[in-house]
Symmetry: C2
Subunit: 236 residues, 2 copies
């Protein structure tokens, strides 16, 4: 295994902390399916069984999650290194939660599920990494479920984005009709439109026909933080 491959694997959260010998051993025993993917190609389809781990080691990916009622799609953009839904490999809901499409020519490799525990599970560091990633996800989601300060419509709009975000940074796109968004938020089209335009005025969103772009989720989260601090000051 060359140095580049070793460094690439070590950047993936699941492999972090393994030593070079472990990785060389793993690469010797576990079949890694390498693949070059053209921009625009779909790597994984929402709703199909997740029975392997797909790793992006070069290029970009977009996830696209369509809701059950056919009202909207939620798109997120990821760069290398990235693992596609490690949380969909185990548990009782093992279908992919979203589709994944290459946004540039990309390099990936995948490992079949039957190798994961019998081979990779032999390394306590790998076990720990996996349990940390999934546990953290469960903890973050639980926290998002508790009623927070999402009282104003503006906060509820931001909370909608938050609840759908895999990562709280980077670009996101919500494709939805304004009337459907208003319906999901339990408010009027006019009020929702007003809030979205105000957020656009603050350069936190860009509104287009049937589409809301969040250029940088981190900025929106900073703004949300400032709102909540304001609310706490008022309560005191």
């Amino acid at each position: 295994m060359d140095i580049t491959m070793y460094d690439t694997l070590l950047q993936l959260p699941l492999f972090q902390g393994l030593c070079k010998n472990d990785l060389t051993e793993i690469v010797g025993k576990v079949r890694l399916h390498f693949s070059k993917v053209k921009a625009g190609a779909r790597i994984v389809a929402q709703g199909t069984p997740c029975n392997r781990l797909v790793f992006l080691i070069k290029g970009g990916l977009m996830s696209e999650m369509k809701d059950g009622q056919g009202l909207y799609s939620w798109n997120e953009y990821f760069g290398e290194p990235f693992v596609v839904e490690p949380y969909s490999l185990f548990g009782m809901h093992t279908d992919y939660a979203a589709s994944y499409v290459a946004t540039s020519d990309a390099d990936t490799f995948s490992i079949d599920k039957n190798y994961i525990l019998p081979e990779l599970g032999k390394y306590p560091i790998f076990q720990l990494n996996y349990l940390n990633i999934i546990s953290n996800r469960a903890q973050v989601f639980r926290h998002r479920l508790l009623p927070g300060n999402a009282h104003s419509l503006e906060q509820r709009v931001i909370h909608f984005f938050l609840c759908h975000s895999e990562r709280l940074s980077g670009r996101k796109v919500l494709k939805i009709k304004m009337e459907d968004f208003a319906w999901l938020l339990n408010d009027t089209r006019l009020s929702v439109s007003k809030v979205l335009n105000e957020l656009q005025g603050k350069h936190l969103l860009a509104l287009r026909r049937k589409e809301i772009e969040i250029p940088d989720m981190a900025s929106l989260m900073d703004y949300r933080e400032s709102l909540q601090q304001g609310a706490e000051l008022v309560q005191v």
Copy 2:
């Protein structure tokens, strides 16, 4: 190890599928701290570090989660066998999410975190059980975060209970002032009170001063299901 102990361990989801030899080996190597607890004793305190797995093998437990704003507490009731927050042992938020109090004289045992991966992690079945439990939790919570049919106030009230429930069956108690509940639900005290009284009329809730009891969460979930089927019929 006697037969009873073997059967007891096998009932715990983390140990399910292990053979008697594995369990005998585990009990020989891993220190199990057995403990008899009096009714009313607190076993674990919310906000303290989770650095062991506590198993309830006889008796009952109540969990009590207090929200960050001091507005309410959410109590759930569990019988044997039960593991206290296996999802708080790994990840980035490893403080207990709730307190746990014995509701009867109870038998427990605990295993320190440093034994979990080095010793129990040697058994692929244990690894698989652990990953299944945590992954499933993350999957269920993600699903609860998506906007569903929680549009009417009645559905939002039920969704509030759903979001707080560890298990969707059994008895739950929410201790809250009506005006705080209304504030959290973003609605008026009068409307919330009306909805709660209607649910009480259907025997799905019991209202007391500063307290809402759900005698059986499964009945409330069945009722919610019937509401959603009704809503789908209307949409079609």
